[in-house]
């Protein structure tokens, strides 16, 4: 390695096809770089990140004795790793390269080629001055704990957990509801194949419970996360069910025995369309099949005075424990998969659709429960007055593609609306009117399904619904009056007012209400809409900016079941790759103390969020534990005697960058 002695800088500028070269005069920048002190070689190339581009660097290092490299191309967040690899293959320490971002911060954001070229030259000058101060560094390795945490027990979390468990990894699956299954468990049939959701989901749910490698904690939530890639300590709160999971056999006789003869409280799983008792399972196929006692309504828990018929029937199994308290358990894992899912748009936010005002206006999720054979009506589509509707309007894009609400397309609504149209027509023979803005049926077999439904005689009206209002008042006998759905049919250019018995609002998908809290807890980022942000939209779609934390399912953005499952598999594979490597290499950008200059003032110690700085009482100096240091550099900037430094972000490097930016050659 020739990193000492005379500085010999190799400079490379990438055309990136025309992405850079179309705006920035790469020849001029290359010629300019060649004139800078220390630069012994300057080249431009069509695609620096390609194999030949990388080989060029490696070969030049060997043949020209280069000992510093500057690459002007795209963002270091995209290709720093690539070029460090190329430099390493050339036999040089990988940290002797510095990248100049002239694409994301240059050609893509500036229209004036001349000014963008000047900016590129300034940045190159700064980098050339900076790289002189680079020194060889070594990466340290930390072992990776082999267990994985999966947060969220919907179809994505279930699939990720099963995949990891099948690979022999120990998985803890945490779900906040009393059962796993997520939204998919609420659906009736799934588009476009119309296979029943429960038939394909419940075997996977049972497999989770049965798998020896999976610890399933339902009715539990993550409350704190510490540590970093390879070694996270996660605190899980297990809420009291008042029934011991280890003793309950799932006979559910206690539910029948409850002193409430009938359900009295809104059933969450059926979205309030039916009533449950204070002791319940969310749905018959719930996993685990262990009831939950609702402390808000249970007579024993509220008053202490109850016949406790449930306890009596449980008898010698003795699974009841009314003294249960929330339990906080710490677990250690090497990787985390977040599969926390989505919530649906609150249709009440759009007042002119009358949700919550007119009793015959439903959301799509409510409609799913109504058509579901195990739903509150046993699969009968009926209005609150008991009649089957003779006409049904299905309103697409409720809360989606709307500047006033959510701007994004929720991706699944067109297809589930068509599915509901098909199912309701099949169940009731009603006239169905689907009001859509654009029919989005991309994906395998989707367009075919759309054609099928349109051939079945469903009325497809291209127009956004502007108003929903009553045609006739509700009868005194409980008869529910029709409502008129008004929209401009944009294909015929006419306003249409269609009276219907029932309206279904196809509500869009949006981030969970507490997505922001989850995001903060796991220290990841969100996209503009509030969905969790992937590391790269194309090349790292399940990674986050926090190493060791992966995304699966709709928490990352609206997606259908096949995509959620595919992403869950990908997230599991990423976690496996991390775990099976056995260790992670840490960026060597840690802080270190120049002991002879440290005055022992201790002002740095409370600044460190990782408690990486301690005070060595024997020498009265601060010392930094490099394994704990995450490399933020806050202590470096705060040290009054400038005795703390940071690898890769040395004062000398940053000052020379500033100088380079502002010094016109």
């Amino acid at each position: 390695m020739n990193s000492n002695g005379a500085i010999r800088i190799g400079f490379y500028i990438c055309h990136c096809g025309t992405n850079i070269a179309g705006v920035i005069d790469v020849d001029a920048v290359a010629a300019y770089a060649a004139s800078l002190p220390g630069v012994v070689l300057s080249r431009d190339y069509k695609y620096m990140c390609s194999d030949p581009g990388q080989d060029l660097i490696a070969q030049d290092i060997r043949e020209q004795g280069l000992n510093r490299i500057v690459v002007a191309s795209c963002s270091p967040l995209l290709h720093e790793r690539t070029f460090r690899g190329a430099v390493e293959r050339g036999g040089l320490n990988p940290f002797l390269v510095h990248m100049v971002n002239i694409r994301e911060h240059g050609s893509w954001v500036h229209e004036d080629g001349g000014l963008a070229t000047t900016k590129a030259m300034d940045l190159v000058r700064a980098a050339v001055r900076r790289v002189v101060h680079h020194i060889p560094l070594e990466r340290s390795r930390v072992p990776v704990h082999p267990d994985v945490l999966v947060v969220g027990g919907g179809i994505a979390g279930i699939h990720a957990a099963l995949t990891l468990a099948a690979a022999g990894k120990k998985v803890t699956l945490v779900e906040r509801e009393p059962s796993i299954g997520g939204h998919m468990a609420q659906f009736d049939k799934t588009f476009p194949t119309l296979d029943c959701a429960a038939c394909i989901l419940t075997p996977k749910m049972t497999a989770v419970k049965a798998h020896p490698n999976i610890t399933l904690w339902t009715y539990s939530e993550v409350t704190a996360v510490k540590g970093s890639v390879g070694n996270f300590t996660v605190t899980v709160k297990r809420k009291p069910r008042y029934i011991r999971e280890d003793l309950c056999v799932g006979c559910l006789e206690c539910i029948d025995a409850c002193i409430y003869k009938d359900g009295k409280f809104a059933d969450e799983f059926n979205l309030g369309l039916s009533k449950r008792k204070p002791i319940y399972v969310p749905f018959p196929q719930a996993v685990p099949a262990v009831p939950v006692v609702d402390p808000e309504h249970c007579v024993h828990l509220k008053t202490g005075k109850c016949k406790d018929l449930c306890v009596q029937i449980c008898a010698e199994r003795n699974a009841f424990d009314f003294d249960q308290q929330p339990e906080f358990i710490d677990i250690t894992v090497g990787a985390v998969i977040l599969a926390t899912g989505f919530t649906t748009f609150d249709a009440k936010r759009i007042p002119y659709y009358g949700y919550g005002v007119y009793p015959n206006v439903y959301t799509a999720l409510e409609a799913e429960r109504l058509v579901n054979a195990s739903g509150p009506t046993g699969g009968e589509i009926v209005l609150p007055d008991g009649r089957a509707p003779a006409s049904v309007a299905i309103v697409h894009c409720v809360g989606s593609r709307d500047a006033d609400y959510n701007r994004w397309c929720s991706r699944v609504c067109c297809m589930y609306s068509l599915k509901l149209a098909h199912l309701i027509q099949e169940h009731t023979k009603a006239e169905i009117y689907n009001f859509y803005i654009d029919m989005r049926s991309a994906g395998k077999s989707m367009e075919e399904f759309y054609n099928r439904v349109s051939e079945e005689g469903v009325h497809l009206i291209r127009g956004r619904v502007a108003d929903i209002y009553p045609e006739t008042a509700n009868g005194k006998d409980g008869h529910i009056g029709r409502v008129i759905v008004q929209a401009e049919d944009t294909l015929i250019g006419r306003i249409r007012k269609i009276p219907v018995d029932m309206v279904i609002l196809s509500v869009g998908l949006q981030p969970q209400d507490d997505a922001e809290d989850v995001r903060r807890m796991f220290n990841i980022s969100c996209s503009a809409g509030g969905f969790f942000l992937e590391r790269h939209p194309k090349l790292a779609p399940v990674n986050t900016f926090t190493d060791g934390i992966y995304l699966a399912g709709a928490c990352q953005g609206p997606k259908d079941i096949p995509d959620a499952v595919a992403q869950a598999g990908a997230a599991a594979a990423e976690a496996l790759a991390l775990i099976d490597a056995g260790f992670v290499e840490l960026e060597p950008n840690t802080a270190y103390v120049m002991e002879e200059e440290c005055s022992g003032c201790k002002s740095c110690i409370p600044l460190c969020p990782y408690s990486a700085i301690s005070f060595a009482e024997d020498v009265l100096k601060a010392t930094i534990n490099a394994v704990l240091c995450k490399g933020c550099g806050t202590c470096v900037a705060s040290c009054p005697s400038a005795s703390i430094r940071q690898h890769l972000f040395e004062d000398a490097q940053i000052f020379s960058e500033i100088e380079g930016l502002l010094t016109h050659a």
């Binding site: 270091p76 911060h105 954001v109 229209e111 969100c526 969020p609 550099g633 900037a637 960058e657």
Partner: protein
């Protein structure tokens, strides 16, 4: 406009920007990926955390000829390193007072919280800062410092006989 500033027609404000790796630098990358267009006046120096930004970096940038310094970090509560951005905020408050004493308009140092999702904010902040600096005119700190040095030299020359006398007295 500042009396020292003699902006020529083709003068363009020069902004040195310090962006944290996780939020603002990523947001600037996002602005690029989204092909947003903004003024080409900034030159970004990437740091891992805004907490790494030493007040001396800012002073150095001004003394070397920057017309403005832009600092971008994660929103409060969102710092990748928990609260480096808040440590920086304390320094910026102090730094602003110091800059005032140095005759540098407060608006020349701008601190913005820009999350990884806010590519649009990078664009608006940069454009807005360029417009502000256009109004303020060149800072021309190196030239001003040179003028001060000349003044000091003259002052010392004027005092020279007295100073020499004093030296003798106290010798």
């Amino acid at each position: 406009m500042d009396p020292h500033a003699q902006a020529s027609a083709d003068w363009r404000p020069r902004i040195v920007a310090f962006f944290c790796n996780w939020c603002t630098y990523t947001a600037a990358d996002l602005a690029g990926v989204s092909r947003l267009k903004y003024a080409p006046n900034t030159r970004v120096i990437r740091v891992m955390c805004s907490g790494r930004i030493d007040p001396q970096f800012v002073l150095d940038a001004f003394t070397r000829g920057a017309d403005g310094v832009l600092i971008g970090g994660c929103h409060p509560g969102d710092c990748h390193y928990s609260e480096g951005n808040m440590k920086l905020l304390r320094r910026v408050h102090l730094l602003r007072r110091l800059l005032g004493d140095m005759g540098i308009d407060e608006q020349r140092l701008r601190l913005e919280w820009i999350s990884a999702a806010e590519g649009e904010k990078v664009k608006t902040v940069v454009n807005d800062m360029v417009a502000t600096l256009q109004k303020l005119g060149p800072l021309a700190f190196p030239e001003r410092a040179a003028a001060w040095d000349l003044e000091m030299d003259e002052f010392e020359r004027a005092l020279a006989p007295a100073a020499a006398l004093e030296e003798v007295t106290h010798g």
